[in-house]
Amino acid sequence: MGKAWTFGENMNTDEIIPGRFNITIDPKELAKNVFCEVKPEFAKSVQPGDVVVGGPNFGCGSSREHAPIAIKGAGVQCVIAASFARIFFRNAINIGLPILECPEAVAGIREGDEVEVDLSSGQIRNLTTGAVFQARPLPDFVLKIAAAGGIVNFLKEHDIQELMA
């Protein structure tokens, strides 16, 4: 359970973490400046378990993994967006930041609402309003990567071919 932080459409990687802060790969360091230009209070006030809610094309722009790492480093439990930009989508899966695509939930969650997310079923509950949303299920191989806690951990135990098995 956590508090929802809402963001608009086309939230790009420079807005998530401006390029000038990408001189480090330390998640905690990056987290200090995450969303600093679009929501300056976020980095100071975010609590572990909080949820980021974004509009369509969340994470567009650069290929930088610094963006999902910064969000994960801030303790965010999950990003729910109407849709994700493709590189951000891959990067989040690969580094183990849970993401759910659910336009209905994005429309039904406001800033500060208490939100509960069940990642295995994709169910999203807005505890403030009582509304329940079902996110689109993720493909099997994505679940395999997520279950391992990211692709790096997956490869420690498995051959890459097993992703498609």
């Binding site: 001189i23 930088r64 580094i95 790096v152 420690k156």
Partner: protein, 444 residues
């Protein structure tokens, strides 16, 4: 049978693949740069497995090079130490990664090249699949030689006619970005074709795959043809000839050329769409198009130049993987020859690569630019990522030849970035206000 991306993937997979399928494919080259390689090294160490094929790894120092601060220097040190430790053959410090990949012959028709940089789509100009990925996946490809892909649906953009004088590929692509929007092609392959594309030289073609990233595309493709072959033969070190042996890079002699071996011969297959099924086909007539500007704060905030004409600018930046090739510098030099840029405007020119810089120097372009009052910097990504080489102050406005105008990209989040062609940049440099290049070109 299929779209160009289906043809490329099918050839690699050794079977017919179609949009919607998820495939695990061999990759030809794996590109990363000083911004993204440190994270890949970290992931590589965590995976704890050896590199699959050192010859497939291509590293560049270009994003913050030469190092503008100690942390960037530490990144460079980390990468160079890794190259020594792993005895990697391909490390470059000679310009923007995508330009160097093309110049050095890593990009050949039908190849699959992934890069830890969003503008890796650029490689589509050679009829190759190029896509941007994150650093972790780069490390995965280092140890497996493979990458998973969802075969994308394709949007075909059919471009008809010829542009008027003063209107360039950049104007056409900015126009397309305005039509489709920043997420207009998300997850899609965008195929650019039609007689306009077929008649374009390589340096103009590059704009389309390069900026396909800005409309969300997974890849932007142009089918290889004689222009592609001519580029490989005339502009890349191996002379574009399939060779049984790896070739050396001649007088520099640091690394073997990627050209060579059996794989090379297959890379010359000129794949084309065969009875393709497109999700959508866009027909655009370029013959009536006027110069276009992508305005602050989004790439799809596109206006015909006349609507923003006269807007004051504080910096003109001519550089990046989009528009800092020899021909771009030539357009600018032709317009600035014998003139002076506005003395209150910083006009910064960053050639995309050392080879371009050298040719521009030999042919007198650099002297013309300097005499006109431009500041010519060393090669690389320069001011485009807001680390060095032309950072903007709060309240400033820049007109640039870049591909992206996100808020804060060139430094202060309170600065504004406008994107346009090199000709528009040159005209604007002269007046200090956004200016139609056709007026300046006519007066010559």
């Amino acid at each position: 049978m299929g779209t160009l991306v289906e043809e490329i993937f099918s050839r690699k997979a050794g079977r017919r693949v179609q949009a919607g399928e998820i495939v695990l494919l061999d990759v030809d080259y794996i590109m990363s740069h000083d911004n993204t390689t440190p994270l890949a090294i970290k992931a590589f160490r965590e995976i704890g497995k050896p590199i699959y094929d050192k010859n497939r790894i291509v590293l560049h120092l270009d994003h913050a090079y030469p190092a503008p601060n100690v942390m960037a220097a530490e990144n460079h040190r980390k990468i160079i130490d890794f190259v020594k430790e792993q005895e990697l053959p391909h490390l470059f410090m000679q310009g923007v990664c995508h330009q160097v990949m093309l110049e050095e012959g890593f990009v050949t028709p039908g190849a699959i090249i992934i890069g830890a940089d969003s503008h890796s789509n650029t490689y589509g100009v050679m009829g190759a699949f190029g896509a941007g990925l994150g650093s972790t996946e780069i490390a995965v490809a280092w140890v497996t030689g493979k990458c998973w892909f969802k075969v994308p649906e394709t949007i075909r953009i059919e471009l008809h006619g010829q542009t008027q004088p003063g209107v360039y590929a950049k104007d056409v692509m900015i126009h397309i970005a305005g039509l489709l929007g920043m997420d207009g092609a998300t997850y899609r392959s965008v195929e650019f074709g039609g007689e306009y594309i077929e008649n374009l030289p390589m340096h103009e073609r590059i704009i389309f795959p390069n900026m396909s990233t800005e409309i969300g595309a997974k890849c932007g493709l142009i089918a290889a043809d004689q222009v592609t072959i001519d580029y490989l033969e005339n502009e890349t070190p191996a002379g574009g000839q399939p060779s049984p042996q790896p070739l050396s890079r001649g007088e520099r002699g640091q690394v073997p050329s990627p050209l060579g071996g059996e794989r090379r011969v297959r890379d010359f297959e000129l794949l084309r769409p065969v009875n393709p099924r497109y999700e959508r086909v866009l027909e655009i007539d370029v013959s009536t198009l006027t110069p276009q500007v992508a305005c602050h704060p989004d790439v799809d905030n596109v206006k015909p130049l006349e609507q923003v004409e006269g807007l004051e600018v504080h910096e003109v930046y001519i550089g990046t993987c989009t528009n800092a090739r020899y021909e771009d510098l030539e357009i600018v030099a032709n317009m600035l020859k014998g003139k002076r840029v506005n003395p209150l405007v910083r006009v910064i020119v960053t050639p995309a690569s050392q080879r371009i810089y050298k040719k521009a120097l030999q042919n007198g372009l650099i002297e013309i630019l300097m005499d006109a009052g431009c500041t010519v910097t060393g090669t690389g990504c320069g001011a485009c990522i807001g680390r060095h080489g032309g950072i903007l102050a709060p309240g400033e406005r820049a007109l640039t030849t870049m591909n992206r105008n996100f808020v804060g990209r060139m430094g202060s989040p309170l600065a504004e970035i406008y994107l346009a062609s090199p000709a528009t940049a040159a005209a604007t440099a002269l007046t200090g206000r956004i200016t139609d290049p056709r007026k300046m070109q006519k007066s010559e």
